[in-house]
Symmetry: C2
Subunit: 514 residues, 2 copies
């Protein structure tokens, strides 16, 4: 058994059985080994940022790490932005990065780079395999590192000769570390804070947005009056009918500050004191009032759903929360197509238990307006702020959950970064619909220009925020990569197309001209 | 004058007057300043890898650095592969990377990364601006670093508040360092080696492939019998009718070894002893015979054209080389479309002084077959081995030389990495024609699988090298981004389309189905 085979068998033993791949020469033995070892599914991507973003989506929906296969340092570079996003989502990921054969490294061939140096800024764990006989052990360590609660990025660098030479037997999958429970004393201290009756916010992130966590948070709010907020980055929000509704901290700093105004205590659940996405002139970085006191119920490394349930019980809250969202699908809109109507249609027609990958950015407000009344669903956003993850998250979520429709609410500017994803969606026959909010601009930057107080009204400046010259024809692009596509210019057209997309398996894209 | 304005004025003072941009919030003051300062041309790109690859193409054709504008660490990550390629091409590049305002950094907002750590593996010089008052000085240092012979990658990190706060006056452009001349004693030593009449190769790279260098090399070959080779990475090869023809070291290791067999002395001109691109089992990494002695005529840091001229004179070679390529345009081919015929058509119809960006990879053999007999032209390849630079090089070369037709010989798999370039070509109305060699495969990897001796015939392995499921419709993709496009399935169709593309200004793409 060669090193590549030992590596793949060890990954499969550790239940790491999906790999998003974009290989090159140095990874050919890994590629060949996929047919020699049972149980590894490979998903070919035509750009490495698709691999890493898809792995993020997969891990969020399964709780298990996906792997990527990347070609040397530059391939890791291409994946880097979405590795960053994955790391900020605090989910497990294993990058397998091919490296030159050890005897070839000293010759500084054109593709030679310091792969470890490229990996460290976006990884929690990095190791270069030093000997073919340690491949299995190194792979098992990578799995263990990735699964370290709440989930880490592990980058394992595989020299070509460590892949092709004879290796040792595969290792068993390492034990999965469970997140530890929060101490009772901590629960009681938080309960004491909440019992004071002072203005309090529970700020939730990570697994704090799963249905069971929200259920407990609703019970806590019922007996304490605490307000429930989610942090801005959303790992996986179980929302819609039958779930406890909570608010999301607004993106504009002044709105966020206003929303949190008067808060005396903030109970942190899987997060830290909330901060602005960017620093602006004459604007605070911290969003909570200066006088606010922070109390951590549970960190991301701890068992968040259990901590919330313990806290609700400690507060002797009734077993069921008083407020659950009710199914309230809007009527189908008519007339001019605007983002709000698109969201109304999505809420009206979306199937139960859909997954919604949301990179709609400036077109996303309608999500909050309608989706508590939509059917139960999971919503994912990018967590590291680097746009271009909406399409890859869609691919990964669909590979993870092939029986669930994945709806991708996608802005045009961000779609372009990883547009190659469309081809993988077609190849894998993913059951997805991308709603492309086509506003022909980096619309968010038009707003940010004002917020940073820049005098950016000049023609050259404005041209740098404009995607309308030439207009991008998303129908052509999607069809060019094998994805069924329509263009909608009215609400009626969008309704018809979205209904068809929901009812027809396979990947679809609607170019919604807004 | 704020920091952004001082920065841009300093760049313009240093003749860095083109910026390939993909900005975000932290770069908005830079964007606004482009309208406040005269002389900076901005070219919007929809993905950062387009920015860095285009800057490489621009620098190769002008000898002056282009700049990029990138959004924080992940934006630099997206640019990284083509920054690596630029660095390996040894041409100047200045990356301007936005960073959070200094007061905001400590809050670890989602987009926070260690930008310097991401930059160092692909940069020769990195600096984070520490104070708005030093922006001009830092920018001048970046220009000087980039222009350090032969050309370096300088990455300058600009915190938002250093862009928006009041700054000092712009700095003058630093003096351009000229590459130093090679010592006479060195020239005489090399001449002595050549006079021995032993089997000798001149291996040329960097400016060694410019017309004047080749002219001198031809003179040297005439009087010494030395054979002339180019290294595999090509910065800028001035080839075609009227130039001295030389060979390129073959890519397959066994062919390269055979080509260099029997060489007793290798004279290195802007390069180092040649190495294989990858390490393979049972295959040498070094391409020259073990007994070959290496002698460096000039390093990339030195004045290569002058050194070659001095050497030719030292050898009292006649002033004109005996062998110059003659214009020998082939007949237009007919029938089934294969790569060789495509190259014949290009050689038959290409205008004089075209620029040829060559990322045709496995379809590139016809270039060597026909192009010594083609009209004089400049040919560029990627230098760092990370595919996905052909389209960006085309954009950058066209921005640098708007009066010259740029012909992009482009493989399909590598085109997809930076497919967003097509939009910028349309936006800038570049006079280019992309010949898309569409073989529906990572064809090179099918060959590499054999070379690494992997047993990769299994169906899952082969599927990872196949781009035919679904077939990519390049006409649709190009049209979707505003580029005129045709599909050719016969040589006659290709002839007609290529002739039209050459005669009609503006960007074109021909999907050549081979």
């Amino acid at each position: 058994m060669n090193g590549a085979q030992s590596l793949i068998q060890t990954l499969v033993n550790g239940r790491v059985d999906v790999c998003f791949t974009n290989p090159g020469t140095s990874e050919m033995h890994f590629v060949a080994a996929v047919d020699k070892v049972e149980g590894m599914r490979t998903v070919l991507c035509l750009f490495e940022g698709v691999c890493s973003g898809a792995a993020d989506g997969y891990s969020r929906m399964t709780g298990r790490p996906a792997s990527t296969l990347l070609h040397l340092g530059p391939g890791l570079g291409n994946a880097l932005a979405n590795v960053h996003n994955t790391r900020r989502a605090h989910v497990p990921l294993i990058n397998i990065v091919g490296e030159h054969a050890r005897h070839h490294l000293e010759h500084n061939a054109p593709l030679t780079t310091d792969i470890e140096a490229i990996a460290w800024p976006v990884s929690d764990w990095v190791r270069t395999i030093g000997d073919p006989m340690t491949v299995a052990e190194d792979a098992a360590d990578a799995i263990a590192a990735a699964q370290q609660p709440p989930g880490q990025v592990a980058t394992l660098i595989l020299p070509g000769d460590c892949a092709w030479n004879e290796s040792s037997a595969p290792a068993p999958g390492p034990a999965v570390s469970r997140p530890p429970a929060v101490e009772d004393t901590q629960i009681r201290q938080i309960a004491d804070v909440l019992r004071r009756g002072e203005p309090c916010v529970l700020l939730m992130a990570g697994p704090g947005l799963l249905e069971s966590s929200l259920h407990s948070a609703g019970r806590i709010a019922d007996v304490t009056g605490a307000r429930l907020f989610s942090d801005r980055p959303i790992q996986r929000w179980q929302r819609g009918a039958g779930r406890v509704p909570i608010q999301r901290i607004p993106y504009p700093v002044k709105d966020a500050v206003a929303a949190l105004d008067g808060t005396t205590h903030m109970i942190l659940v899987g997060t830290v004191p909330p901060v602005a996405f960017f620093g602006y002139p004459n604007t605070p970085s911290l969003l909570a009032p200066d006088s606010c006191q922070f109390h951590t119920l549970a960190t991301l490394e701890e068992d968040i759903p259990a901590a919330l349930a313990m806290l609700a019980d400690e507060l002797t809250a009734p077993p069921e929360p008083s407020t659950l969202s009710k199914l309230n699908r809007p009527d189908l809109p008519t007339g001019e197509l605007i983002p709000d109507k698109i969201w109304a249609t999505i809420a009206a027609l979306m199937p139960e238990e859909a997954i919604l990958t949301n990179e709609a950015i400036t077109s996303a407000a309608g999500y909050d307006r309608y989706m508590d009344g939509g059917p139960p669903h999971d919503m994912l956003t990018l967590n590291g702020g680097s746009i271009g993850e909406g399409l890859p998250l869609t691919l990964g979520a669909s590979i993870a959950c092939p029986d669930r429709k994945v709806i991708n609410a996608q802005a045009d500017g961000s779609a372009m970064y990883t547009v190659q994803t469309l081809w993988s969606l077609a190849r894998e026959k993913c059951d997805t619909v991308t709603v492309l909010f086509n506003n022909r601009a980096y619309r968010i930057l038009q707003g940010e220009m004002l917020k940073v107080e820049a005098d950016g009204g000049g023609s050259k400046s404005q041209a740098m925020l404009d995607l309308g010259n030439p207009v991008i024809d998303w129908v052509h692009i999607a069809q060019g990569m094998g994805v069924n596509a329509w263009r909608a210019t009215t609400a009626e057209e969008f309704n018809t197309q979205f209904a068809a997309a929901v009812q027809t398996p396979g990947p679809h894209l609607i170019d919604a001209v807004i």
